[in-house]
Symmetry: D2
Subunit: 362 residues, 4 copies
């Protein structure tokens, strides 16, 4: 058991604090012979990187990844490839501004983990949130980039589908729109609405929640396992482990509570000699095992608790106080959660691919 | 890694199929010296047992638990106590009606795991759903009863809070109502409404989804861990592992997507010399670690897919067909999910109590 | 992590005390579709069963195994087969003689785990050794029988190679002799010598240590993993986990300390177009990975501490005392360790087969 | 499960190849609040460092450790302390001599893991042995230094007790001698004999095996667990995971095979009001649980296979060949295994301390 590892056979172990020397992860269990360079990883990190638009934190971090181990190249390999040994990925922290942390050292910011970390550990690296900083998710994205290498033929895409009360219109859904706006929004019209809405949030020094959807296409039927190795269980664990995540659903999700058995069960017909489901309320998973349909997961991200409006709190030594969290924060931290959600999907699927192969063979 | 185990330091490993010889679980890691008899477990099993009302399946199972190991009594112990060695709990299957299963042997019931089990394993005990039957949850309830023994001073209660479109009115919430109706409903008025509504569902041979809420009071601040050992992550994994579960949320959950930072962050004030939160949007967990507030989890249960209306499907050998699932099924399987949700909460908390103690000491 | 589980992907979790209701294990991760009946398992249990000769304990136990789950048979399967779900194997305890345990309840038998169990747990099922009884090894043998099903083409055999100071003569080694004597001895001459020697031990109420050797043939090159998933590491863990085991060695083992690099390194030559090692000091494992040669493991079993000569000890409440352990004990417990060692070899190899397949594919 | 992690609750995950960018490890599960600086770790690394005498490899590596995460210091902490989050330790590889590796790229060195790595992975970083290099053990020593911080009051010491056929005389045992010779030898007379003996080995370009003994004093009674969490089982796994290790024994070890029950069982008497064992054949462990006596483990290290005498081998493409391994190798690699064995002892004990505390409290 490790509180800083995710996955079983394809596993990442992450380390590092927001303002320490470096963050990173060790990827273990990766099959050998997969082409892997730093550039393969960097592209995904750049999507998550802060400061890409005015809607995300203005902290400046290069988030430059370095592969320390687990790859090799000579004239007989197909470029640089994985060797099957652990791949250590390191990202040095460059924006360690010397600043005064006495405020968050002594006061518990409501909504943040300051109080609970102190309750647990009695000591806390409070600089920039330390280990509880969303900065840790860069390690997930780096690990997820390696996981994608294992998932040949599988296509993982994420989108922001709700910002505050404003949802995308699914009739407008166009995956190509994702990269045309700073929100990973698949609905051009919603993106435009969100821009205005988030300008207001940002200017008032407030923040707002959001919902992320991640879809994996091309997953064969049969991955996952019944009972406690359910694919949806592990996806749920994966998405809930993301900072600020408060809810997860698969397929129809909470909506399934309102459906009858007739409405909910996805009917099947033979099409071109193969069973084909006629709807996907299941989100691609039945009894914990993939059905071959798209795997569809959504998770809710709460608003960041770093806001300019004073909030009531207490100090570490038990005095009432008020606190304003200044600094370079995300008005909607859900935006940057999109590439993180994709990475977690990739990590779960890579792990389950190996777990399936172990018990069943290819 | 085990696909049939749940938990790390306090762990259950379950076994058994719906119509096999027996089901049960091995509870490992239990501290020694805790008073434990079969009667302590039986009470919880009886709450989950089928056939308690016309709103649950009429299958008749005694669900009589037998402790095979891990307990001991002599004149120096406080009655029968745990010894710290594995506790094997067995429930024999008594209602193994000889019936014709050829229909579900050859046809994939939409919404059920028939298709995916076959896709994975190539062989399947189809009698009564085999391993994918909700019958497996009896093992969870048995294991959860042992977990509660570890959680002295912690109070775990579950309720059904939504049936189809009908939610409880939280202003009417009364935990004492839970046992006054066959739905574990804390709102007497909603219970009465549900009775009518579910009569209609039942008589039409249909089924409906539901939402379960589980609350744990008395959990000290500090349990859980950051990053991949988050308490909410493990609760999410626990609840999503329950049969038919499609969604999980903690505290404000999906509602947090619509909240601003000001609304969402729970403010703190000193009360009687101790920090006290003034709201609980966090559901008792901040940064993956318990805050000392009530831990609040909800999960959505889809309608059972066993219904009397014919659904389109295919046969195992690739022919279009229609299927009706006759038998003794639950019109709202969410009802019996309430004690199961409580058990999973107990299992997660017992595990995290030991995990916390390991790293931090008491 | 589980203190009562062995293996990762092919895993057993054992339960039960010597004089409780039943002992057994849950086998998890077994591939589906393997023919498996109780008779397949019973044969191995019978080899380990007490009372087979005057050289083992006279306790009478039928050791009749019952499969509670994880298998299925219909007209389309090849007899009864595994389904890929957990296989629970139960052996009821039948020889629970009502006897007076007050002696071992209050006195710590030297060499036994009485003192350390009390130091750890504060409570102890002392009847027949409780959980520390060698009876637990029946569960290993049962689980090992299932593991063998996974190891098609691999041949696992064990032998007793030393009893007290008397070793087998390797020039006389004949695997066929194994079943011709009550010692699993491959050297007819040694077997005859041991018979006399052990008669003396037995009659004097004493006991003696032994060395067991287990060999696996047909393991392909490539199983295992470097660093902390070494095949020899897991074999070492497996053999040391057997009751009374005090030492393990692979290939040349402790003898390698006296060898030079020239003597120790197994040279290679092409034979019939394939690399062939010219000796096997490595015991079939290089860098933690199988080389395709026979895998050779030995482990030492200490003499049972239950003897008729009085030994100095203390009581649970801190008084000096003397103790004689009457009862039906093994003069050389190493004999019955042979089938147990074979089972542990099978469990390690089945696990590593699946672990290899997970990362590398077939 | 991870093939590159060791331990459960106190766990290291190592990474890196001999001639890659860096090696290191992530230490997870460390309790918070322990004083820890790079200097605390460096001292142990220096003991293992190559080039300390003519009896070890002349490779020059500074082995300078850098703590990347998991520690914190402010004016309220007791210097720099652990925070309970993962501690990443990195050692950059500085001696990456540009050299011609074509020989070991194409030829399988007998006794090395070249053949088996290729059989498993199909690709291999052959430079300096890559991942199979003993250089990985620097990560263990670094992790072990952190483990010692958890083991307040426990004293772990290692010694070389046999080189080739030459054993120490236990009557001469003096722990203070350990640092007076380049062999970690506790017997001054043996050290002098070994110096001559190893000069011969070294000059002839040969190598020789050895036996290491590691002793832990001050371990309380009660650590470990029965059946598959035995303290001796995990020590056995730990020591066998060390490069070149071929055998492990606890207490009397293989010698127990020759003992009678009377000789082997350690008798007990009350001394100063506490139970005291009168001998230690058990090596401090009974039934897998510590007895409070010294824990005594020995392991055999085979001679390094890198020698100057030509050995028969084959090429990767299946041709017979001869091979000489030039380079800077250890005539007796067992010497540098002493601090590695100590580190593995510390890692096992720190893990078991936390495992014990989880189940039992304290």
């Amino acid at each position: 058991m490790s509180h800083n590892s995710f996955g079983h056979l394809f596993r990442i172990t992450t380390f590092g604090e927001s303002h320490g020397v470096a963050i990173g992860c060790v990827v273990d269990g990766c099959p050998p012979g997969l082409a892997l360079t730093e550039a393969d990883i960097q592209g995904f990190l750049d999507k998550r990187k802060p400061g890409q638009s005015k809607y995300t934190t203005q902290r400046q971090e290069a988030d430059q990844v370095k592969i320390l181990s687990g790859v090799f190249e000579d004239d007989r390999t197909n470029g640089q490839v994985t060797t099957g040994t652990p791949i250590c990925l390191m990202i040095e922290n460059t924006d360690q501004r010397s600043k005064d942390y006495s405020d968050i050292r002594d006061k518990y910011r409501p909504g943040h983990a300051d109080f609970t970390y102190d309750a647990k550990y009695g000591v806390r690296d409070y600089r920039g949130g330390g280990r509880s900083s969303a900065r840790e998710t860069a390690s997930r994205v780096a690990g997820g980039a390696v996981a994608r290498k294992v998932l040949d033929g599988i296509f993982i895409r994420g989108a922001l589908v709700q910002v505050g009360p404003h949802k995308v219109n699914r009739d407008n859904w166009d995956w190509n729109e994702i990269n045309n706006n700073p929100f990973f929004c698949p609905d051009a019209q919603a993106a435009s609405q969100w821009a205005d809405y988030l300008d207001g949030i940002r200017k008032s020094g407030s923040s707002i929640g959001a919902v992320v959807e991640v879809v994996a296409s091309g997953v064969p039927a049969g991955w996952g396992a019944p009972v406690y190795g359910k694919l949806d269980q592990d996806l749920s664990s994966a998405m809930m482990s993301i900072n600020a995540s408060k809810a997860v659903e698969i397929g129809a999700g909470f909506g399934a509570a309102c459906l009858t058995g007739e409405e909910n069960a996805d009917q099947i017909r033979m099409v071109d000699g193969k069973p084909q489901f006629q709807s996907n309320h299941a989100g691609g998973i039945l009894g914990g095992i993939s059905s071959g349909q798209d795997i569809v997961v959504r998770f809710a991200v709460k608003p960041t608790s770093s806001i300019l409006t004073p909030r009531k709190s207490v100090t570490a030594d038990g005095q009432d106080t008020d606190i304003i969290t200044k600094g370079r924060h995300d008005p909607c931290v859900g935006i940057r959660a999109v590439p993180v959600g994709e990475a977690m999907m990739a990590l779960v699927l890579a792990d389950h691919k190996l777990r399936h192969r172990a018990q069943i063979g290819d």
